[in-house]
């Protein structure tokens, strides 16, 4: 079976690799870990995708394609092949994911309140809020983060049971808010460095890749839309928030919690050394 690659996200547009392994097959996408230790994610036709996305013209459920975890993936510069399936690479467009900060408006505060309200009503169940022990650890981790970035990252990154640990998703939301409000540059620099040095040891590959992208200002459309509409106090805050909450089984909700946590940090900036 042959498919076309139509778009490639900026962080992986110039990636060169020869072989890799399938690491996770889902309805809308599948992940490949390349021989260069990078994560790429091939998606079916979609308007919602991560910063590691390669978009294809597949229109069926990807989990029905005949390959599974561990299958070999090969790339020769013109195509990517997995089992009997080939994805051709000609003229793929680049999707720009690096975002510029958004100017704050007087409606920002109201935007945050509305966002918090929507999240309170619509959030999905998350292990860090259901499990007592995890909840305490998360609370402690964010307290440490206020004084000591590296200590905070060590207490939070990798905490949470799923493919993208809950705290990684929260930090993702926080990082994106800092970036788009042009604050917390120290935070994002430290996060990027921490992930480069220790990311492989402390969290899953998928999570490390996505978090590192956000720390460098690469933010997916869904997350970007939410924060931009909050900052600009636009009418589509609710709509965008609901779309983000839908991402993953709990990742979207946790990312939203991270946005709110980031806002709280900014409000308390006098108490925070690095802000």
């Amino acid at each position: 079976m042959n498919f076309k690659i139509t778009h490639i996200c900026e962080p992986i547009y110039n990636l060169r690799w020869k072989s890799g392994k399938v690491v996770g097959v889902y309805d809308r996408c599948f992940n490949v870990l390349t021989d260069t230790g990078q994560l790429i994610t091939l998606f079916k036709k979609s308007d919602k995708f991560s910063t590691r996305a390669i978009l294809t013209d597949i229109d069926c459920n990807i989990s029905l394609l005949e390959f599974a975890d561990g299958a070999e993936a090969l790339c020769d510069g013109r195509s990517i092949t997995v089992g009997d399936i080939t994805f051709y690479l000609s003229n793929a467009e680049k999707i720009i994911t690096r975002r510029a900060p958004v100017a704050l408006t007087p409606k920002y505060e109201d935007g945050i309140l509305l966002f918090a309200d929507v999240l309170k009503r619509s959030r999905k169940k998350s292990p860090v809020f259901e499990n007592g022990i995890l909840k305490e650890r998360v609370k402690r981790g964010f307290e440490i983060l206020k004084d000591d970035l590296v200590g905070g990252f060590e207490s939070l990154i990798g905490l949470g049971i799923g493919l993208t640990p809950s705290c990684d998703d929260m930090l993702s939301g926080m990082s994106a808010l800092f970036h788009l409000t042009d604050t917390g540059q120290v935070f994002n620099r430290a996060l990027a460095e921490f992930l480069q040095d220790k990311g492989d040891l402390v969290t899953t590959l998928v999570s490390k890749s996505l978090l590192a992208d956000v720390a460098c200002g690469h933010i997916n459309e869904t997350l970007y839309s939410v924060i931009r509409s909050i900052i600009e106090g636009k009418d589509d805050i609710e709509k965008n928030a609901l779309e983000l909450i839908e991402v993953g089984s709990s990742s979207g909700s946790e990312t939203c919690e991270g946005i709110l946590m980031g806002y709280k940090f900014l409000k308390d900036k006098e108490q925070i050394r690095w802000l």
Partner: protein
């Protein structure tokens, strides 16, 4: 006690799934506790804090899954491990077991299949529907955004093959006693229905059911069937099919206002029909129907009454479900000075339309996100103006989510917004029951209704909440239970959509006079 850790290399599952499995394992016989998570250092610490760590855990890296179990014996631990594998396999095989890569493959596996239900994105729906029809299946299509020329092609193909093309944009049908789509379960009987009006057809279906009558078939035609381009192909096919159907004695047609050319075609077919036909085209031209000697009605209540009376040959007194003894003056006396407006947040598009029609006839301005009169269209669908009725099932509010009758989140959010508006006096909600709909919509809303009523009370306001339940006693949600849940939080229950609109109008009119 024995503690074991099982490591699955390079295994990934979503966190909610893992939480559920861990809970199931922890509840099994012989198991004291269980935890499952990726082998990151912090997760390992958590597992250790729980006393579930064992030697094997050191072999897990961040991309590996740890299944940590504490049990009475090694055998119990092994059983937990097997149960994990079984649950994981069940998750993947239940997705795979009845899954096929194509309609052709599905038909080959199930040769007796005679109905394809299609809800893929619009751009792919045409091809799938065509394949289904070419494989001698009828089609029920939820999908929207299908090119209108393609709709015509499909309907002509269906007709040539003696099949039905229900849709695109079809919400429900009821065929041979089978509820298809978002549909209530009702008794079989002699009343046949056809049209492009999911909640409208449902309203009539449940009304006839409540009064001891039944439905032979209800055929959804899709929202654009009566347009100029489509020309009423499905509507005409449905009338003829119901006419030929032995079980059907009387036919009702329910739809939005048709294009003139389609209306004229349908009128000719109705005039030839040997069975009585009642026509209810919302906001339509009833004069032309009257001029052609066609029975018409202006509300869903009226449609139901007329078809029942035609079916049995005598007058039918509509049975009351809820006691309508609302003390309107008492309600009004509790409103704060600021409270003067009506806000309806409805799941049913046709119920929204009927509310608009009744309000416009009796009260005047009613804003909406789906207003017939463009001057009354809300500039921002998320913000009400004065008296407003919202079709909360509209795609604007549900993008990325299931229809609001399945996932009520959008309505909960809007309800809160309206409830906190100091100018809101009356809020009207419809509750749709049936297969494939939310299992317990009343409970979801009851919680937030109670909270917001209390909040309003603390602020010196009174919220008058009116609701209808468009469902039957055969629906899985348990009609009586749904009603009780709403009554328990002070909701005023009314039998039908038009009665709810009338009650609301009465309250708002008297509030204005005061």
């Amino acid at each position: 006690m024995v503690v074991k850790n099982y490591i699955e290399k390079n295994r990934y599952y979503d966190s909610v799934f893992l939480m559920k499995i861990a809970r199931r394992l922890a509840e099994a016989d012989g198991i004291d506790n269980a935890s499952i998570g990726m082998g990151t250092p912090l997760n390992k610490e958590t597992i250790t804090d729980l006393g579930l760590n064992a030697e094997e855990m050191s072999m897990a890296g961040p991309n590996d899954l740890i299944i940590a179990v504490r049990a009475e014996s090694e055998a119990d631990c092994e059983r937990a491990r097997e149960e994990f594998t079984r649950l994981v396999n069940e998750k993947s095989s239940s997705a795979a077991k009845n899954s096929f890569r194509s309609i052709v493959g599905a038909k080959a596996a199930i040769p007796d299949a005679n109905l394809a239900i299609i809800s893929v994105a619009g751009e792919y729906a045409f091809a799938e529907a065509k394949r289904a029809l070419m494989n001698n299946m009828n089609v029920f299509m939820f999908s929207d955004n299908v090119d209108i020329k393609d709709e015509v092609t499909l309907k002509r193909l269906a007709q040539s093959k003696g099949k039905f093309m229900m849709g695109p944009g079809c919400g429900l049908s009821f065929i041979n006693g089978v509820a298809i789509g978002l549909c209530s379960m009702v008794n079989r009987g002699s009343i046949g229905l056809a049209g492009a009006s999911g909640s409208g057809i449902q309203e009539v279906m449940v009304l006839v059911h409540r009064n001891g009558f039944g439905v032979s078939h209800a055929i959804g035609t899709g929202g654009r069937d009566m347009s100029d381009e489509v020309g009423g192909i499905s509507m005409i096919q449905s009338i003829r099919a119901l006419e030929a159907d032995e079980d059907t004695k009387v036919i009702a047609l329910i739809s939005k206002p048709p294009a003139r050319s389609s209306l004229l075609k349908v009128i000719e077919v109705i005039k030839e029909c040997t069975k009585p036909v009642v026509v209810h085209f919302l906001n339509g031209d009833n004069k032309i129907l009257a001029d052609n000697g066609i029975i018409y009605s202006e509300t869903f209540d009226e449609t139901a009454k007329k078809v029942m009376e035609l079916a049995c040959g005598h007058e039918v007194e509509i049975k009351k479900i809820f006691e309508n003894n609302v003390d309107v003056d008492a309600e009004i006396s509790k409103f704060a000075k600021s409270q003067k407006y009506f806000r309806a947040i409805l799941c049913g598009g046709s119920l929204t339309d009927e509310t608009q029609i009744l309000w416009r006839k009796n009260m005047g301005e009613l804003y909406s996100n789906v207003a017939f009169d463009k001057s009354l269209m809300l500039p921002d669908p998320f913000t009400s103006i004065k008296n407003t009725v919202i079709d909360i099932g509209d795609e604007t509010f549900t993008k990325g989510r299931a229809h609001v009758a399945i996932d009520p989140t959008a309505r909960v959010n809007r309800f809160i917004k309206e409830a906190r508006d100091p100018e809101t006096a009356v809020i009207y909600l419809d509750f749709l029951l049936g297969y494939a709909l939310h299992a317990d919509p009343a409970s979801v809303m009851a919680e937030v209704i109670a909270e917001e009523k209390k909040r309003a009370e603390d602020e010196g306001r009174h919220l008058c909440i009116i609701a209808t339940i468009c469902g039957s006693d055969m629906d899985p949600q348990d009609f009586e239970k749904q009603a009780q849940i709403l009554k328990d939080v002070g909701v005023i229950l009314v039998d039908t959509n038009s009665m709810a609109a009338e009650l609301a109008m009465d309250i708002i009119r008297k509030t204005e006079e005061k």
